[in-house]
């Protein structure tokens, strides 16, 4: 009796794994523990890939776990008479469960090529909109000035406060000043390691305005956790106005008139 109870306990414990696994995925979105809001153009294809793979592996996961439970329940030693039957292996079985996963993976590899190319290979032919230099522990930004060329005397230098226009392609030139960092824009589905010594192009087109996070996704030292920036996506007109304002601020030659509490015009 005790052995049977033990068998039931272990079988049910293993059944709990797929049950709680599926339950977690079902409940998570209600608690906002799901994919962050996507405002980019290519993000939809990345997300749909994610869902497809999740569904596929999810189904396989459930089937496998349920089978595991079923065999534990049905073939419990306490219920069975006699021992197990030994076989010499089944060639057919081996071939089947090799071919099917291989075909699936091959399908996935080909299916995702377009999404990868969109983000990593099909660079738009344009001058960089901004240069982002990752540094321990901040994001230093450099906009080309009125002459449109980076590296000239009229560049605009900022820290952590990235602004970019929506509804058009933007090209970011990513560099690192010291160690490996990773430029991660969760809401734009962009993640690119910043490698010291390399100038890496990053591009996307945003569909929607808003303020989102820039996060560092490669452990870069003691301050990695606080290496946060902010990206503001806004229409081209308001982006240009902001650029003009920041540019004028960079050329300030007189202290502003008394206006306490105005942080933007502070000193």
């Amino acid at each position: 009796m005790g052995k049977r109870l033990a068998g039931i306990f272990w079988a049910l414990l293993f059944l709990a794994v797929p049950v709680f696994g599926v339950a977690t995925f079902a409940i998570a979105p209600a608690y906002d523990h799901w994919l962050p809001k996507d405002v980019s153009e290519h993000g939809a294809s990345i997300d749909s890939l994610f869902y497809f793979i999740l569904a596929l592996t999810g189904v396989v996961f459930v089937v496998t776990e349920v089978l595991l439970f079923w065999f534990m329940w049905k073939y419990d030693a306490a219920k069975q008479q006699g021992g197990a039957t030994y076989i010499q292996g089944s060639h057919t079985l081996e071939v089947v469960w090799t071919i099917i996963p291989a075909a699936t993976l091959l399908f996935l590899a080909i299916y995702q090529m377009n999404a990868w190319a969109d983000v990593k290979m099909r660079r738009p032919a344009m001058a960089p909109t901004v240069e982002v230099v990752a540094r321990q522990f901040e994001w230093r930004l450099r906009y080309p000035g009125r002459d449109g060329t980076l590296g000239t005397a009229d560049d605009l230098f900022l820290v952590n406060d990235l602004h970019l226009p929506i509804d058009e392609d933007v090209l970011i030139q990513l560099k690192s000043m010291d160690v490996l960092h990773s430029f991660f824009l969760p809401n734009v589905r962009i993640k690119q390691d910043a490698v010291p010594g390399m100038k890496i192009p990053v591009w996307f087109k945003a569909r929607e305005a808003g303020e989102f996070d820039i996060v560092c996704a490669e452990l870069c030292g003691w301050g990695h956790y606080k290496m946060k920036g902010r990206i503001t996506l806004e229409p081209r007109a308001s982006f240009d106005a902001w650029l003009e304002r920041k540019y004028a601020e960079q050329q300030t030659t007189q202290p502003p008139p008394e206006s306490p509490g105005d942080l933007a015009a502070s000193n």
Binding site: F137, L150, A153, V159, K228, Q251, T253, P255, L263, N267
Partner: protein
């Protein structure tokens, strides 16, 4: 069985040692000053350890009375500080009753600047340059006369922009109220540090070894605290006058542009002239003029270390064989104090570093890159650093360069990172776009 018991008990001991409540945070005395002013004189009646420890405890108690603890700051009305803002910044990181985040200083600043604002937090030893020590009350990048305190806007600006080229990050992503609270806490730590220095200074100048520091209101508030707070109060009115930009300068155009050509040439003449800029910054403005000067924070440690090393050497070579009894006691007490002070220097001060003159061709400007910021650095110099000013030293004084001429030097400086200096050879491009 016996072996397993031993292993289990050792593991238990390790766990027990690891857990337990951490004690509340407490301010640290400026131990270098505390030990320095405890130097024994020839009027000893007790061993140096007992009364100097008493004096240190007196100062610590007075400071707690005036300023409270890191978790519970106190702002007397005479200190000019806003206690509400201090409470927002002080204490452990937590949410208050309306859901606002408190403990901002501990969250953002303490790991570099230290709990007492001594610039010796756990991260400090890994940074170059070291984080600022607020206790002497000196600030480098501000809009006021050289020996005046920074204004509120100056402190907020440094928090907002960070300091390019150092590990001081930009806190622009915090709300204005949070930045204000942090600026207030920095002022609080600075006033506290200056009060500590004043108390130790008074004790050294006026008190004998057994005397206690007075704790009357006339003394603590009137004589010690009031002059310090006064300097902070007048900071808002101590901004330097900024001359109008003369004709022939257009900061929106690069220095190589025709509109700026004459002004940049004038600025170059002033820079390379007999003022002495090139003596430190170098003829090529790479900062290679000299490399063995210290800023005030490191200089204090270097000078006191030299003194102590010299005295240790003397005491080591002095022969004690022929000394009369009281001289021997005096000698021994002094040697004991010297060794204790050397120990304090070793453990309670970061290893001093020289401050190299700035490489002006990098395009990295710590105090800010606006023309206004460069003007201010040239006008008053940089307080706490060897950088001298070329403007007047105070209101009504006369400077060595006319105010309007300083703009020409600013124009020249802005053109430096983009100027190709053929003198250095073709393999040393100076153009900023090829560097960070």
């Amino acid at each position: 069985m016996n072996r397993h018991l031993v292993v289990a008990s050792v593991a238990l001991l390790v766990l027990a040692a690891g857990c337990g409540k951490t004690p509340p945070a407490s301010f640290r005395l400026n131990m270098v000053q505390a030990t320095k002013t405890a130097a024994p004189d020839s009027e000893l009646n007790t061993s140096w350890t007992s009364w100097s420890r008493e004096r240190q405890e007196q100062v610590a108690t007075i400071l707690e009375a005036l300023f409270g603890t890191p978790d519970e700051p106190v702002a007397l009305a005479e200190s000019g500080l806003d206690e509400a803002k201090l409470r927002l910044a002080a204490g452990p990181v937590r949410s208050d009753i309306v859901g606002r985040k408190n403990g901002l200083y501990r969250e953002h600043c303490v790991h570099c600047h230290g709990i007492s604002g001594d610039g010796m937090g756990p991260t400090a030893a890994f940074l170059n340059p070291y984080p600022r020590d607020y206790r002497p009350g000196k600030f480098k990048f501000k809009s006021t006369w050289r020996d005046a305190k920074p204004t509120q806007a100056d402190l907020v600006r440094v928090l907002h922009e960070g300091i390019a080229g150092t590990s001081m990050p930009s806190f622009a992503l915090l709300s204005a109220g949070q930045v204000d609270a942090l600026a207030e806490y920095v002022r609080y730590l600075s006033i506290r540090g200056e009060t500590e220095a004043a108390l130790f200074g008074y004790a050294e100048q006026e008190l004998g070894s057994g005397d206690k520091l007075p704790t009357t209101r006339e003394f603590l508030v009137g004589e010690i605290l009031a002059p310090i707070v006064e300097k902070w109060k007048v900071a808002e009115e101590s901004q330097i006058p900024v001359a109008a930009v003369p004709a022939g300068i257009d900061f929106s155009l690069p220095g190589s542009d025709l509109a700026n050509r004459e002004s940049v040439a004038r600025g170059r003449a002033l820079f390379l002239g007999d003022g002495g800029c090139v003596k430190c910054h170098g003829v090529t403005a790479l900062g290679d003029g000299q490399a063995n000067d210290y800023d005030d924070w490191n200089k204090a440690i270097v000078e006191v270390s030299k003194e102590v090393a010299g005295s240790l050497e003397t005491s080591r070579t002095t022969s004690t064989s022929g000394m009369p009894a009281e001289k021997l006691a005096e000698y021994r007490a002094r040697a004991e104090w010297l060794h204790a002070f050397a120990g304090v220097l070793e453990g309670d001060a970061l290893r001093p570093r020289t401050i190299p003159p700035r490489n002006l061709r990098l395009g990295v400007y710590r105090g800010g890159r606006r023309p206004l910021d460069l003007y201010r650095r040239l006008y008053t110099g940089i307080n706490g650093a060897p950088m001298p000013g070329v403007g007047p030293s105070g209101p009504g004084a006369k400077g060595s360069v006319a105010d309007a001429e300083i703009w020409h030097i600013v124009n020249y400086l802005r053109s430096l990172p983009y100027e190709f200096d053929g003198e250095l050879g073709a393999d040393r491009p100076m153009v900023a776009k090829d560097r960070f």
